[in-house]
């Protein structure tokens, strides 16, 4: 009862505080972040229904599983993209302390990315798609997303070039991240005859977006946040940022080799993929050390910054565990030979995609949308509860999937049992995944509500 009282839902969650001068780009970034958080809330609900479909036989559904899963994966890609676009505009102007080159283009870009994202989800709901995992929408819609990314790249490059002598490492890193998001999506707007090329270009989004381009945009955001909140001195952050970013780029590109093992590529990629994947871990280690040092020496006082930090710390945790350690383990070719194509990959994907990237984008979106407010103690506690539920749900989901995957590895891959027999054996763990998913969804809706309330408190009055 005491716990419930502690997290009581009555009372005001945020109070308005005096806001510093804001750039137009920062105002525009709010709509990106708001849309990203809304899509994130929708994603959990869609994913939860999909996971239920797997464990309740003959569950009636207006959208068949194969297209429901496609919507889930599409959302998983696009909500962090939309949030990142907002974050990059916001933190670039904050870093450079001036307006972006064209706020008008940023507004156009928002409507373009929203139009094509909604078109992807809408057509998939109508069972129209292109059947490429994570990129299931029709290719024309990805042309639209590319157009939005091209506009963002142009706008950011022109912003940096306006005053070449004052380009900060964080703003440059974020700009390069956005350019890579564009360049890596571009080949996915074409339909290939060759199924190997199809797989390859898909991984330029599935792997390289997450483990390289988004790493750069996140690094820029984290660097800015650490400087603003006093967790790290600017000089130290700027000293290491380009080195971290370079390792993320080289490690990210050639680490993609671990996705090339069994798709018809020469055996040399087994060595390239497994060895270079180690490089991918180094920037994560550097980030963890910097965070540890900052937390040891500085006490963050603002509840708003503390809640942002909780979200960021969650990301650092999954960066280290689910993405790096588990990821590195399953890239060992002898391990991957047996575990690839089982639920182990799915467990890793949830930890790496949402755990590492999702939490960073949520942190950024919350920070942006709550600017000009400060959560009351109650509001802060509700936020912390939501973060706990998200973490509890994610760990439960991923653990269940990993156990199911280990069972598949042993019974199916090693002992050679029939696939369907093994599928029935792992059913209890798929049910456990649903329970984890329900907890995650609850945390998601709670956090989204928290962010919505902060947005409402800080909304501009016309």
């Amino acid at each position: 009862m005491k716990l419930l009282k502690w997290f009581s839902f009555r009372g005001k969650g945020d109070k308005s505080i005096a806001r510093k001068q804001q750039f137009i780009a920062q105002k525009i970034s709010r709509r990106y972040c708001f849309s990203a958080v809304s899509f994130f809330a929708l994603q959990s609900v869609v994913a939860l229904l999909g996971s239920l479909d797997l464990v309740i036989p003959d569950l009636p559904s207006p959208i068949p599983f194969e297209f429901g899963r496609a919507i889930h994966l599409g959302l998983a890609d696009l909500w962090p993209l939309i949030g990142t676009m907002g974050m990059v505009f916001f933190f670039t102007t904050a870093e450079l302390n001036r307006e972006i080159y064209s706020p008008r283009l940023a507004r156009w870009q928002y409507w373009i990315v929203m139009l094509f994202s909604v078109s992807i989800f809408g057509t998939l709901a109508l069972r129209i798609g292109n059947g490429r995992e994570f990129l299931e929408g029709m290719p024309i819609f990805y042309v639209g997303i590319c157009l939005a990314l091209a506009l963002a790249s142009y706008n950011l490059i022109r912003t940096l070039l306006t005053d070449k002598r004052n380009i900060t490492p964080a703003s440059a890193t974020m700009t390069v991240g956005i350019i890579f998001l564009f360049l890596l999506l571009l080949p996915n707007t074409i339909t290939y005859r060759n199924p190997i090329t199809d797989e390859v270009t898909k991984f330029w989004v599935v792997h390289l977006w997450e483990e390289m381009a988004f790493e750069l945009t996140s690094a820029g955001f984290i660097a800015t946040f650490y400087v603003v909140s006093g967790l790290a001195p600017r000089a130290q952050v700027e000293k290491w940022l380009y080195l971290e970013a370079s390792m993320a780029v080289v490690g990210g590109f050639y680490g993609t080799g671990h996705h090339y093992y069994w798709i018809g590529f020469p055996a040399v990629w087994l060595a390239v993929g497994s060895l270079v994947s180690v490089v991918e871990v180094i920037p994560v280690g550097m980030l963890a050390i910097m965070t540890y040092k900052g937390l040891k020496s500085v006490k963050v006082r603002s509840n708003r910054e503390k809640l942002t930090l909780w979200l960021l710390l969650s990301s650092v945790f999954y960066h280290l565990t689910g993405a790096s350690l588990l990821g590195l383990f399953i890239t060992i070719p002898w391990v991957n030979l047996y575990m690839h194509g089982t639920y182990v990959t799915s467990g890793h994907a949830h930890l790496a995609l949402f755990g590492s990237l999702g939490f960073v984008v949520l942190a950024g979106c919350y920070y942006i949308l709550s600017r000009g407010s400060e959560p009351t103690l109650k509001g802060y506690k509700r936020g912390v509860l939501a973060v706990c539920l998200l973490n509890g749900g994610l760990i439960t989901m991923a653990s269940a999937l990993l156990v199911a995957g280990f069972m598949e590895t042993y019974f199916w891959r090693i002992l050679g049992m029939d696939f369907m027999e093994v599928r029935l054996l792992i059913n209890p763990y798929l049910i456990m995944r649903v329970l984890g998913g329900a907890m995650f969804t609850l945390g998601n809706l709670l956090l989204s509500w928290r962010i919505f309330k902060a947005w409402q408190t800080t909304k501009y009055k016309k």
Partner: protein, 131 residues
């Protein structure tokens, strides 16, 4: 490290990576028109949501990379045209295809199994012996 170094390293990494990837992605045999039509059937019906090829895709159904070595084309076509109930469901059937789509899809699956996968999946040899 300076911005210029970071940019040069990024551009060189990107160029080299794209080059070596495209060289590595060559097919061992040219793809027939029927197999290509089958690939589009695979994509149109979003088969990847439930099945994997090369281990990539959904985990609800079996991996189909080497299904053409385990089952005869006639069996596969019949399965796709008159699909059975999918366990553990009692009513829901596997999605059905028309005969032409089914034939094309089987051609595609026959083509996919010719792509060398460096010994993956590990139970392939056992399956081949059984068949």
């Amino acid at each position: 490290m300076k911005l210029r170094t970071f940019l040069i390293l990024s551009i060189l990494s990107f160029g080299l990576f794209v080059g070596v990837t495209l060289i590595s992605a060559r097919l061992p045999f040219p793809m027939t028109e029927q197999a290509l039509a089958g690939k589009l059937v695979w994509q149109r019906h979003n088969c990847v949501s439930c099945h994997t090829l090369f281990g990539n895709g959904g985990y609800v159904g079996d991996d189909l990379t080497h299904v053409a070595t385990k089952e005869t084309p006639a069996y596969l076509i019949n399965y796709l045209v008159q699909p059975p109930v999918m366990r553990p469901n009692k009513l829901a059937h596997h999605p059905a295809l028309n005969e032409m789509d089914a034939v094309n899809l089987v051609h595609y699956l026959e083509f996919v199994q010719t792509i060398p996968t460096l010994g993956w999946p590990p139970q392939r040899e056992k399956a081949e012996k059984d068949s």
